[in-house]
């Protein structure tokens, strides 16, 4: 038998119907739902007298809109209505919901893995582009629009043309002090935000294998920022041991069986991809973005570029526009850029290991005067575990705010907004114009780099801190 990629295998196993010249009808194993992209889908069902086909394969939470300062104070009336609507819809259609007061509540891409809902070989969709996060487990996971949400609710399937496959081979090892976030930012910086368009990316290579599950999620999370439909990593022992004992994962003998099946999904030796790109992990340094899309980035020891370094006119214009928006002069050393805000959170970097990495830097130090710094754990579970370890105390003593879980300042739909013209070091995934608030300026970094910026008041090579610790 010809060797196959995991993408081929999952596709074959989920094809309900296929005809020449048409997309395939693909079965969906897990449908995650949140308050922002679902109301119109449920409304569509009601208007047509349709039911949810598999409420048991559907799971809902609230994350985008929820307040993180105080769960009991939802000041925004429209946001409140959106949450109430989700609650009503879940009741009406029999869907399990982790609402704002539920101990499992959190960012949808953080809680799926945490609860063991996310598993290798599953097809997973959510009305959210960062659904690619779940690919870390060897699942085929991608974001969909609201019409597709409605389609999945009604039929548990989607019409999909089989995407092309791309291998993203990460050779070598990450240097000490360089994070998974730096890796994926470097990939996007090198290959651009359109490189993955039309593809599902599979990350392979030595550097990927040595990442923890949480780090793999950070990498897969940002696949969409490279334009890919999804990003995934073949399951291995790291995957299996992460899943063992989680609530929605079978236990005992059944676990051994399912684990063996998961292992067999990994891409076969010699499987071929439509395209391969390669990068050497050992050359990657801590990254900071300086522009208004995630490919506009540099290593901490670089400088803000000059627009005329770029070839095409349109590129020069877009760099210039980005610099104007960001209020940056060409040639400025990255480590001289001062920040006003620091946000540690989002589905990219709000898991326990992220908070630990940041706390390690922060411990015993003080947030620079004039910097507002907040930590927003990805879920209530992360929050609880972090508190049990005393991470909250480390952050609070240093002058950080310690918040409830949610998307928060990643997209600033709730009150957590970066004011116009202010500069934020953020562990999230998007630095688009206005992403963190109208006129806000976002620099994407790893949790440790964000923590370093909070202490120094400007970007700094966090490896210096780490050397001091060692």
């Amino acid at each position: 038998m010809a060797p196959k990629t995991i993408i081929d295998k999952i596709w074959e196993q989920h094809k309900v119907h296929g005809e020449e010249g048409k997309p395939d009808l693909i079965y969906i194993d897990l449908h995650l739902i949140h308050e922002v992209t679902s109301p119109q889908a449920f409304e569509g069902l009601r208007l047509n007298g349709r039911k949810v086909r598999r409420p048991d394969l559907t799971y809902a939470t609230m994350d985008h809109n929820v307040p993180t300062a105080d769960k009991n104070k939802i000041n925004d009336k429209i946001a409140h209505k959106q949450m109430a609507t989700l609650e009503k819809n879940c009741q009406e259609f029999g869907i399990e919901l982790a609402d704002i007061h539920h101990p499992d509540q959190g960012i949808v891409h953080v809680i799926g893995p945490e609860l063991g809902l996310t598993q290798p070989g599953k097809t997973i969709v959510c009305g959210d582009s960062h659904t690619s996060t779940h690919g870390a487990f060897g699942a085929l996971a991608f974001g969909i629009g609201t019409s597709e949400v409605e389609h999945v609710l009604a039929t548990q399937t989607l019409w999909q043309s089989k995407p092309k496959t791309m291998e993203v081979k990460v050779n070598g090892k990450l240097a000490p002090g360089v994070a998974a976030k730096d890796l994926i930012l470097a990939v996007i910086e090198k290959f651009g935000i359109g490189v993955g368009t039309g593809y599902v990316m599979e990350y392979t290579g030595e550097a990927i294998r040595s990442l923890s599950m949480e780090e793999r999620m950070t990498v897969c999370n940002m696949s969409i920022e490279a334009g890919a439909k999804a990003g995934l990593i073949s399951p291995d022992d790291v995957t299996i041991s992460y899943l063992k004992g989680r609530r929605h994962v079978p236990s005992g003998e059944a676990f051994d069986q399912v684990a063996a099946r998961w292992q067999s999904l990994a891409s076969d030796e010699g499987a071929s991809y439509d395209k391969t790109i390669e990068i050497d992990a050992s050359e990657i340094e801590p990254q900071v973005t300086w522009g208004t899309n995630p490919s506009m980035g540099s290593s901490i020891n670089g400088n803000v570029p000059y627009p005329d370094q770029f070839e095409s006119q349109s590129e020069r214009e877009s760099i210039q526009r980005a610099l104007d928006y960001m209020g940056l002069e060409p040639g400025t050393p990255i480590n001289e850029i001062e920040v006003d805000y620091v946000f540690i959170g989002s589905c990219t970097n709000s898991r326990l290991s992220d908070l630990r990495a940041a706390a390690e830097i922060v411990k015993g130090k003080t947030v620079h005067s004039g910097v507002t710094a907040i930590v927003v754990p990805g879920s209530q579970t992360v929050k609880l575990l972090a508190e049990q370890e005393g991470l909250n105390t480390i952050f609070i003593n240093a002058g950080f705010e310690w918040r409830e879980s949610g998307c928060s300042m990643c997209l600033a739909m709730n009150e957590d907004i970066v004011p116009p013209g202010k500069r934020c070091a953020s562990t999230s995934n998007r630095n688009f114009e206005g992403r963190q608030g109208n006129g806000s300026r976002t620099h994407l970094v790893s949790p440790a780099m964000a923590a370093g910026a909070a202490i120094e008041g400007k970007f700094t090579d966090v490896r210096n801190f780490q050397a001091a610790l060692a």
């Binding site: 196993q13 309900v16 119907h17 010249g21 048409k22 997309p23 009808l25 079965y27 194993d29 922002v36 992209t37 109301p39 119109q40 409304e43 569509g44 047509n48 349709r50 086909r53 598999r54 048991d56 394969l57 809109n65 429209i78 946001a79 209505k81 959106q82 609507t85 009305g127 959210d128 582009s129 974001g143 969909i144 629009g145 609201t146 019409s147 597709e148 389609h151 009604a154 039929t155 548990q156 399937t157 019409w159 043309s161 935000i193 359109g194 368009t197 039309g198 334009g227 439909k229 899309n293 349109s314 877009s318 997209l411 600033a412 739909m413 998007r430 688009f432 114009e433 206005g434 992403r435």
Partner: protein
Amino acid sequence: MEPIKQFSGTVCPLDRSNVDTDQIIPKQFLKRIERTGFGQFLFYHWRLDEEGKENEAFVLNKKQYKDASILVAGNNFGCGSSREHAPWALLDYGFRVVIAPSFADIFYNNCLKNGILPISLSEEQVGELLHTAEGKQTELFVDLEQQKVTNNNGFSAEFQIDPYWKQMLLNGWDEISLTLTLDEQITKFEKSAMVKG
């Protein structure tokens, strides 16, 4: 959704690359639970200044483009967030066709599902359209059946579209009804694959 077969309209040239969905519709307008009424928020921060007054420099506000229904833009249009509010806003504002050298995947799909025709042409062709429409009112004629875009100045370009989606758009079909005709097959699949909750 409304069928689209042949369509002619005024072009609005938006000469920018990587226009993301946060720009098409900023997140503060995603809290509504309806599907309609998003047009007023389209390109909000580009179209309107801080006081909510029209920014005259922005192309959509220029009088020659006021009635535009065909948006022509740079590559990677619609990247970023999966929000379907982006095509809803475009449609509600009056756009039925978007032309660009390339589109982000989710956005492209979201357009198709709402009766917006996304057309990808080569960089040169798009460049020509942007150039022709610069500063003046120009018409484009789109023929989905023939998969062709033409104008009166001799511009003519063919485009690709998945035959499945072509049919859906031509007929204005509802995808869910179509899928539900395969209900038995889905049930059979569920039994054989033993899909568990």
